[in-house]
Amino acid sequence: MTSNGTRWALAGAATVAAVGVGRMVARRRRRHQPGREGGWYVVQRAITVDRPVNAVIGFWTDRSRLDRALAEWATLERLDDNRWRCVARDPAGGGTEWRAELTVDGPRRLSWRVTEGPVAQQGRVELVPAPRDRGTEIRAELRWRSGPLRRALGLTAGRDPDLALRDTLRRVKSLIETGQMIDTRHDPSGRSPAQEAATDRVRERLTAGGRP
């Protein structure tokens, strides 16, 4: 027979342990949350491209190459010397569409603002020469507004703006360095259509937000 005292002691220990674990998890989650600034979520992400700054700028100004690169997911239309209008679709499918306005702020700086889209967003990109012979650092800052509920839903749907930013940087790097994006989604396999659909969901989780 366990005495009442032992029961209380065990319950107490379990409570203390649960609270401790909960606090640890909360602290860990907070460390992985994006920064907050005046009602905006803010993240900074960067990637290194193995090309000199001028070659990276050249990629954006070579219209035919850019159109080929963006073909699947965005169109660009020039408004005036420094402003562009961009219409982008969700590259993973799902039919989401954004309209954004891009402004060239200087020789190595660009900013954008989403004018129509599911999430209010703005951001800027800066090109910085990387140390030694490592090419160019593309440094991006992204700000978005979204309620906590929407953000939670956005996360589960894989459309978190931070993940999308990291995906975009990886895509840009690959397009500049190799002229293409590798995709293994339609490689042959011995799977049934249902197994293939389940595997595609796994592929999406292994792809979203990943960096080399």
Binding site: T48, D50, R134, G135, R170, K173, S174, E177, T178, G179, Q180, M181, I182, D183, T184, R185, H186, D187, P188, S189, G190, R191, S192, Q195, E196, T199, V202, R203, R205, L206, T207, A208, G209, G210, R211, P212
Partner: protein
């Protein structure tokens, strides 16, 4: 087309699957003529490396004939007989530019898992699970090879399929292991593992200047083959204490360089091996690193330990103190196929290395599951099973 698919832990079957198609500018389609099994496949088949999905096509060490090329392919054309490096490399990133192809930035389209596990995602590998990109493998009649200009190499005429197939993986892996040792001539090199990679590493060490090579394994027939072919010395660890033997064979110094060509499902004798096996079976640890521990303990002070056996995650009882206090150099990695293959093809064509003898068990693709069983259980003196997807 027919392909050998993974159906679950220790379950393989030949299935009808769709043929691959060109999907990007740099792709080529290769009609596979010879596709070897590899020790590292066993880790996938047995469920020790994560991210296999039912229906995945295995195989990453192969050669064949180009049947179709993407619009961006310049170096190759239909009809070329080629060998393809297992590691996919884009040719355009900093790692490719500096010939560290297995670290390519752009060839793993699914980098999340390895980024979490290892901090960064290395290159994709054909037929090597969804952690390495989710590419379909070569145990099939046809395979799509991305960045064909970078990864596929024309094969010299006259070298048989079953010999040149090992220029895809076993030979460059063994060569890189010896290359890592930084040999200057006259060294003593010990090699753990007398499988395909270990034997190629032993030969490469000789070519690169080692005066003596000592090969360690537990299978007398494999040790016998290595001794007969290359004149290496051998130690059977099932019968002899390896550390004692190496110390005596080198008059107390220890080998100048130690190559580990075994990997995460290594064998050993004694209670520590039983403990490691139990822990790994219960998934409390991912890797059994017995030969790495031995190599570090055996290596001479200030020597080099070169690891090309595949490890996936965490190990315990790693003798870091020995490595630190003996000032060892540790080198390791998946092989940089594209750096070594052209040079190795020249050496194979010149007869300097002939890896063809590794293909002890040529078989049809249909017999793939049995081929892996014979290979894993080392039955019938099997060094490598090589599958032939095309009718003879």
């Amino acid at each position: 087309m027919k392909a050998l698919c993974w159906e679950g832990v220790r379950k393989l079957a030949v299935r009808d699957v769709p043929e691959p198609r060109i999907r990007a500018e740099g792709d080529i389609i290769v009609r596979v003529r010879a596709s070897s099994v590899c020790g590292s496949d066993l880790h996938l088949i047995n469920g020790y490396l994560p991210a296999m999905r039912e229906g995945d096509i295995l195989g990453h060490e192969f050669m064949g004939e180009v049947v179709e090329t993407g619009p961006g392919v310049r170096r190759l054309k239909a009809g070329d007989r080629v060998v393809v490096g297992s590691v996919v490399a884009c040719g355009g990133c900093w790692y490719c530019r500096t010939e560290q192809y297995s670290l390519c930035d752009n060839s793993n389209p699914q980098p999340v898992l390895t980024e979490k596990l290892w901090g960064h995602a290395p290159a994709g590998i054909l037929g090597y699970s969804h952690a390495a990109g989710g590419y379909a493998g070569s145990h099939a009649e046809y395979i799509r090879v991305p960045f064909g200009d970078v990864g596929a190499f024309r094969v010299p005429d006259g070298v048989p399929d079953d010999s040149v197939v090992f220029a895809s993986d076993a030979l460059p892996t063994g060569w890189m292991a010896a290359d890592f040792c930084g040999l200057k001539g006259g060294e003593v090199v010990a090699v753990w593992g007398a499988g395909g990679v270990g034997q190629m590493a032993a030969r490469a060490a000789q070519i690169l200047g080692a005066e003596r090579v000592i090969v360690i394994d537990r299978l007398p027939e494999r040790l016998g083959t290595a001794a007969a072919r290359f004149g290496v010395e051998t130690i059977n660890y099932a019968e002899t204490d390896v550390l004692e033997a190496l110390r005596e064979l080198t008059a107390g110094r220890g080998p100048d360089a130690c190559i580990e060509a075994v990997g995460m499902e290594s064998h050993d004798v004694g209670p520590v091996h039983a403990y490691d096996t139990a822990k790994q079976a219960a998934r409390l640890t991912t890797d059994r690193p017995a030969p790495v521990r031995q190599a570090i303990m055996a290596c001479r002070k200030g020597g080099t330990v070169s690891i090309v056996g595949v490890y996936g995650g965490l190990v315990d009882k790693f003798p870091l103190g020995a490595a630190m206090n003996k000032a060892l150099v540790l080198r390791m990695g998946q092989m940089h196929a594209q750096r070594y293959i052209p040079m190795l093809l020249d050496r194979v064509a010149a007869g300097e290395i002939d890896p063809g003898y590794l293909a002890t068990h040529p078989m049809s693709l249909q017999d793939g599951a049995r081929g892996y069983e014979i290979f894993e259980k080392k039955q019938d003196g099997c060094l490598r099973t090589v599958l032939h997807p095309q009718p003879a």
